[in-house]
């Protein structure tokens, strides 16, 4: 029976991942900011047959809360096998351009606080000699674009951090998975016009669970984003800077 901590558990992708693990009989801890929403998710999982679900209310952007949360999760789960970090925000790019404070806030939510959290989790797992750390980054972190580069910078930084962490922990029995979803139809992207490239949170969740099981390092979800990003990354900067992306 797997023992799983999901951080940012009210996100659409996290919820779908949790549903899959419930079917596998896992024990789950759901961490997030909003207690009532967490209980809605927890009740849903219990109705679906979850044997053990615990809700942890945490202000994740404040690293001072992280230690307690991890401790409580380990107590409830009686151990810790996997952690999925799924929280984040989609910044308003224009607001960030106009205000450095706003930019730093978004970088903290999407990058710095995640790094703080991973530092603790990594050390715990390294000591124990096993565990899986799955973190949701984004294809937006593969190349900076004018429409979305604050988010891109945060996710790009996060991907590099995960790369290094993976390298450090590879010989210690701890697996680090970087998840790079493309366009996902979630509440975060409600205002976008959806085309062919969009997929459901359920599809992405299936990809995440599969990648965790197979100990993959970096997954693009769906797979075709690897190709798309390869093309985007290969455009010479001299041309790229003139493109409206």
């Amino acid at each position: 029976m797997k023992k799983i901590l999901i951080i940012g558990a009210t996100s659409a992708i996290a919820r779908e991942v949790a549903k899959i693990y419930v079917l596998q009989g896992a024990r789950l801890c759901l961490a997030g900011r909003d207690e009532k929403k967490l209980h809605i998710v927890a009740d849903d999982l219990t109705a679906r047959g979850a044997q053990a679900v615990q809700v942890l209310t945490v202000e994740l952007t404040d690293p001072a809360t992280h230690g307690d949360m991890i401790k409580q999760a380990e107590d409830f789960l009686q151990g810790l096998d996997c952690v999925l970090i799924a929280y984040g925000s989609l910044p308003d790019q224009h607001a960030c351009e106009a205000d450095a404070g706003q930019t730093l806030k978004e970088l903290n939510t999407n990058f710095i606080s995640v790094v703080a959290l991973l530092t603790r989790l990594a050390n715990d797992m390294e000591q124990r000699g096993h565990g899986v750390l799955a973190v949701i980054s984004s294809v937006a972190g593969d190349r900076g674009r004018q429409s979305n580069y604050i988010y891109g910078a945060a996710k790009g930084g996060l991907s590099i951090f995960l790369q290094g962490l993976r390298n450090r922990l590879a010989s210690k029995g701890v697996h680090v998975l970087t998840v790079k979803p493309g366009f996902v139809d979630t509440p975060m992207t409600v205002d976008f016009n959806k085309g062919l490239l969009w997929v459901s949170a359920e599809t992405v969740a299936q990809g995440i669970v599969k990648a965790m099981d197979k100990k993959r390092d970096v997954v693009y979800l769906p797979w075709f984003w690897r190709g798309i990003m390869l093309i985007i990354k290969s455009i010479p900067e001299r041309m790229f800077k003139k493109m409206k992306l």
């Binding site: 809605i40 998710v41 009740d43 849903d44 219990t46 109705a47 509440p187 409600v190």
Partner: protein, 435 residues
């Protein structure tokens, strides 16, 4: 604004979308535009559309709240689909007390249209198995509704076409079943009189009954068809009986000429003769019994770009045979064929819904490719017969009935209107009431 079509693909409208996500905090006040709750858009006509206004899509209100595995009581949010409910409850020996012919509808939609199924003669409508729900109104009210609390609003919301407010969650009673399999029989009948005999006899000891008819057969064979009756099986199927998951799908629209009066006539003839002996017995999974069309994704595209119309009416039992005969004669004479024509006898279990469609009598459902004006003229003529007979036409399947016809079928609409949320409306409602 995005372009939307309902299942019948007539009409196409432009409307804004709203996606409430959390039942505890959602608010639908002060929109500056009229709202309509929207599930999966499986109504055929315009009762799930809100032209130039806003629809409130419940796809994210899809959490289960509580499943009592001993008592068979399920509480869930209104955007949960019947397909998701079945996936959850069937392994525990429970089934929906009433299910329509597709599982791809939401609980909210099933309540708003007070849907019925092949067991209406024994179980009544979906609303008969509803214990409670929460209604959020644009006035800011949150009402707990049941048969005893806010009882009038409870009755108005069942079959209320989504116009009384947004249902955030609902609680339903499930029914016990032994296995996920069905025993069924298909019996050929030569004419309408035989249908009535079979129906009378089968409704006594078969839980589910329905008939398909060849609507183009005339004269002595008028109303001929296949009578299907089934019940939940006590026998578990052998392991080899694997469930066929949606394999087929219509990826694009079929060319418009594919379904014409000649191909439909041919299909009807062949389908009628598919049972050589005139009678066959089967043992199969519940999905193939209840939801044969669900196995073809987007089957509505079969009718091509122009879409199709459904016409489902009901007439009282007293002179049901005579009226159905007349309706079928008119359809056969028009030469415009229906691919799937369904006949079913409703029982006399009263629905709690104020505006519910089902009532005691015979219901006839037909779907027609969009033949244009001549089809609309035929519908008008059918309406005249149904009005005279004091019958009704099903709003969930309608894209064309006149205001006069609707008000004749549902004279209680003015009473109902008092319970309508002042901030809610639909294309259908504006069309048939002018409100």
């Amino acid at each position: 604004m995005n372009v939307f079509q309902s299942w019948g693909r007539i009409p196409a409208v432009r409307q804004n979308k709203l996606f409430p996500e959390w039942r505890n905090t959602l608010s639908i006040e002060d929109r500056g535009s009229l709202l309509l709750p929207y599930g999966r858009g499986r109504s055929y006509g315009d009762s799930c559309l809100n032209d130039r206004q806003t629809i409130c899509v419940t796809s994210r209100l899809n959490h289960f709240i509580h499943f009592d595995r001993e008592q068979g009581i399920l509480r869930c949010e209104s955007g949960v689909g019947l397909d998701e409910i079945l996936q959850l409850v069937v392994p525990h020996g429970w089934f929906l007390a009433v299910t329509p012919g597709t599982q791809y509808v939401t609980v909210g939609g099933a309540i708003a249209n007070d849907v019925h199924g092949k067991n209406h003669h024994l179980a009544g409508t979906f609303g008969c198995h509803l214990t409670a729900f929460e209604l959020v109104r644009t006035t800011g009210e949150r009402l707990y509704c049941s048969a005893t609390e806010n009882a009038a609003m409870f009755k108005a919301t069942i079959g209320g076409l989504g116009l009384t407010g947004l249902i955030t969650w609902a609680e339903i009673r499930l029914k016990k079943m032994a296995t996920p399999f069905m025993d069924s029989e298909t019996i050929r009948f030569e004419n309408l009189a035989e249908f009535f005999v079979l129906s009378e006899e089968s409704d006594r000891d078969w839980e589910y009954t329905v008939a398909w008819i060849d609507c183009l057969a005339q004269g002595e064979s008028l109303g001929r068809g296949l009578f299907i009756r089934g019940r939940h099986s006590e026998q578990l199927m052998s392991a080899s009986g694997k469930i066929a998951k949606r394999r087929l799908s219509m990826p694009v629209n079929a060319p418009g000429f594919l379904l014409n009066q000649y191909t439909i006539r041919l299909f009807n003839k062949i389908y009628y003769r598919k049972n050589r002996k005139g009678e066959s017995v089967a043992h199969g999974h519940y999905e193939s019994f209840f939801y044969p069309l669900d196995s073809i994704g987007n089957w509505n595209r079969m009718y091509g770009r122009r879409g199709f119309y459904q016409y489902q009416c009901l007439v009282p039992l007293s002179d049901g045979q005579a009226i159905i005969t007349r309706l079928l004669e008119m359809i056969a004479a028009s030469g415009m064929g229906s691919f799937l024509s369904v006949l079913k006898k409703f029982g006399d279990i009263e629905s709690p819904g104020m505006l519910s469609f089902p009532r005691p009598g015979i219901t006839l459902a037909l779907d027609f490719p969009n033949y244009g004006t001549k089809l609309l003229t035929l519908f008008e003529k059918l309406d005249e017969q149904v009005m005279q007979a004091k019958g009704a036409v099903y709003p969930a399947k309608d894209a064309r009935m006149s205001a006069k016809a609707f008000q004749h079928y549902f004279p209680q609409w003015r009473d109902f209107s008092r319970y309508r949320d002042p901030g809610m409306s639909s294309s259908f409602w504006r069309r048939v009431t002018g409100e």
